[in-house]
Symmetry: C2
Subunit: 86 residues, 2 copies
């Protein structure tokens, strides 16, 4: 079966995030003074061939930890949904 | 009230995505031949000051459409959750 997986990679708390700081600094001048605490990240969606949702999640976490995120600086959040096809 | 918002920005279908293609081509050699259909995107998390979840969603969609996504090439998916503080 194939399961849809989603990985969101974000900088760990305390790691400098100049992109987010720049966006947040620009927001008031652009009319968005009601927006705060902005943080950017990267997202990855893919399909995993596996026997069960649990083994798909394990594989997605391996992929996230080894290739998609830099564990020194980044946290990865992995979610796996129901099979997309049989 | 402040509402937590999440925006995921992805390339529209049909727009060339060389980053995803490069990752997907590398996967089998790295031991991930069970992973397919990889697509990359950007994610933004922030807080919106608003009277209701509905008006927070409207503001988050304005921000996504005007500043976070390029509507010619990208789609933005916006979600707003319950208030994070009073």
């Amino acid at each position: 079966m194939r399961f849809a997986a989603h990985v969101e990679v974000r900088l760990r708390p305390g790691i400098a995030d100049p992109e987010s700081a720049t966006i947040e600094r620009a927001l008031p001048a652009l009319g968005f003074d009601d927006v705060h605490e902005l943080a950017t990240g990267r997202s990855f969606r893919f399909e995993v061939e596996a026997e069960s949702a649990e083994s798909a999640r394990v594989r997605a976490e391996e992929l996230a930890g080894r290739l998609l995120a830099n564990p020194v600086m980044e946290d990865a959040t992995v979610s796996v949904s129901e099979p997309v096809r049989g």
